[in-house]
């Protein structure tokens, strides 16, 4: 562990400016990042592969045709649209429900708060396959048909806890005096919530909403148990692994990746500018 740092002097106060020479740990961190990015780079690269076989793992030259023929596979397009609309609807519902839950948990003391926290903890730490299996058990027991709606319901279920916890963390750090001041100035509960509370917890709400969106659009296991014959993007990819994943999947993945990064960078910039 003595090779952890290159500096001769011990760490004092804030760490010194980054050194010109790259330390062992710095190189290690970069290598780890490279390892994490390698499969993604390959995914992007093979979206440009002029493959002629069903299997897309041998480089056969550069082409843009998969971008031009992105929507050729109709069921893949439907799957992506399903994923996007489910993610949007689920994010909307989850953010509203989870924000109120987070507010209640962060601000008030009430009977049943302990058990509410326990349920949230259980929902966060429960294995996905168990959640999916238990939902399937319910649908089987009551003979409910599975499809778009059951996927949506499941996605809201497993995201609520994450939004509530994120918002709660934000609420706990707030000064209740600000809201009391608003009340003293004659603001009713709704006005107070709209003009004072909501703007203050907004960063938590936005973070929670982004999390809910990502959780939903990425989910495979629970969706697999609740989908019936409805197909989402992850389910479509999973189904294609046996026969060979077409390059259109790489292209879709690349586009979603790019949009995701743009949104993340833009929201990070805005957060940095916004006063804390």
């Amino acid at each position: 562990m003595t090779t952890l740092t290159t500096t001769k002097t011990p760490v004092r106060g804030r760490p010194a400016r980054p050194k010109r020479r790259i330390s062992g740990l710095h190189a290690y961190t970069l290598a780890l990042i490279a390892w994490l990015i390698l499969p993604i780079a390959i995914m992007i690269l093979f979206g440009f592969n002029d493959t002629r076989s069903k299997q897309n793992f041998e480089w056969q030259g550069f082409t843009l045709k998969w971008y031009a023929h992105l929507f050729d596979k109709g069921d893949l397009t439907t799957a992506v649209i399903n994923s996007l609309t489910i993610a949007l609807l689920s994010t909307l519902i989850t953010t509203i429900l989870g924000t109120f839950a987070g507010l209640a948990l962060g601000r008030y003391r009430f009977r049943g708060k302990g058990s509410t926290n326990l349920v949230l903890f259980m929902a966060i730490s429960c294995p996905e396959i168990v959640m999916g299996a238990s939902l399937l058990s319910m649908f089987v027991t009551f003979n409910l048909p599975r499809g778009y709606l059951t996927i949506l319901v499941a996605h809201v279920m497993f995201s609520i806890a994450f939004v509530a916890v994120t918002v709660r963390a934000r609420v706990v750090g707030l000064d209740p005096a600000v809201e009391e001041a608003a009340q003293d100035l004659g603001a009713g509960p709704w006005t107070r919530f709209r003009l004072v509370t909501l703007p203050m917890i907004m960063p938590g709400v936005v973070a929670g909403a982004l999390l809910a969106f990502v959780l939903s659009i990425d989910d495979f296991i629970i969706t697999n148990f609740t989908s019936g014959s409805t197909i989402t993007f992850p389910l479509w990819i999973y189904g294609s692994t046996r026969t060979g994943t077409p390059p259109q999947v790489n292209v879709m993945g690349t586009l979603i990746f790019a949009v995701g990064i743009v949104i993340a960078v833009v929201s990070a910039r805005r957060n940095m500018r916004a006063p804390r």
């Binding site: 003595t2 290690y28 349920v119 429960c126 009391e180 296991i221 990070a268």
Partner: protein, 287 residues
């Protein structure tokens, strides 16, 4: 805060989420337990017979799959700690102005769907794929080098997929450490190793603990990596549950297996929390 008339406010605020979680999380869980004790089949229907044998049969038949899942989970979690800690340490203490950039880069895989990540990782490990193909062709690796469909492939896929879950909590814990505490250790003539083992490491353990909870549970219950990377020899308990549900429609057995899996993981976590002496599991995971 409207203290007087706001008595009902928290209940009204928690009610919608509470109902949702009750109907779609708690009740299904109870129904799953009930289903796990039933007998019957898809055509004739299932009847409640308190058939506890579903559990003993399940554990007897698939005991090896349980053991393998926990073993792979353990290996992948340990690999995640070993891989994540040094990087989290470097970013927290040496990252300087670029801390958030490095973290962002470590989180990049999360902008690609979990399934697609696994499929791409399979591409990396494919014998004639873009990475191993040239390495084998040029003689750097032996011609018969093979990794896909082995346990190494599954564990590496699991570690790859869940690494960021380990990096983040460890980073947060390290980042929180007051630098004056580390400084004090040096003032008291601690060597760099001592400052690390006696000050920094203990203070970062809650982060490691949170990371273990966030990785071990999803890793041990995962079946996608085993399915895509492991071939038929490396099936985990998740694969069995999925097959029992979808291919065999053996709902009672599948339910019994899922419930057993959850029970084993929960017991494991609480035992782990006790031995580590972490006072409050809730708090550690809630961070």
């Amino acid at each position: 805060m409207a203290r007087g008339r706001g008595r009902l406010a928290p209940y009204l605020m928690i009610l919608p989420s509470g109902l949702w979680m009750a109907v779609f999380f708690l009740i299904p869980m109870v129904l799953m337990v009930s289903l796990s004790l039933q007998t019957g089949n898809l055509i004739e229907g299932f009847r409640q017979t308190f058939h506890w044998q579903n559990y003993t049969d399940g554990l007897n038949t698939y005991g090896d799959k349980f053991v393998r899942s926990l073993w792979y989970g353990l290996l992948a979690t340990v690999a995640c700690i070993a891989l994540a800690y040094p990087a989290a340490y470097w970013i927290a203490f040496r990252g300087g102005r670029h801390k958030s950039t490095y973290l962002f880069l470590l989180l990049l895989p999360y902008f690609v769907s979990f399934i697609l990540r696994t499929v791409s990782w399979k591409l990396v490990l494919t014998d004639n794929g873009p990475i191993l193909g040239p390495l084998r062709g040029s003689g750097i690796l032996p011609k018969d080098f093979h990794i896909l469909d082995t346990s190494v492939a599954v564990v590496s896929g699991l570690a790859y997929n869940f690494l960021p879950f380990m990096v983040l909590p460890i980073y947060v814990a390290l980042e929180r450490i007051d630098h004056r505490v580390v400084e004090a250790a040096y003032d008291l003539y601690a060597s760099r190793l001592q400052a690390f083992t006696r000050v920094i490491l203990p203070l970062s353990l809650p982060g490691v603990f949170a990371g273990v909870i966030m990785t071990f549970v999803p890793v041990s219950s995962d079946y996608v990596n085993a399915e895509v990377l492991g071939g038929p020899q490396n099936t985990m308990i998740g694969n069995v549950i999925q097959t029992e549900y979808f291919n065999n429609s053996a709902y009672p057995m599948a339910s019994a297996l899922s419930f057993s899996l959850m029970a084993i993981l929960l017991v494991g976590i609480f035992a782990y929390a006790r031995t580590l002496g972490t006072q409050d599991v809730l708090e550690a995971a809630g961070r």
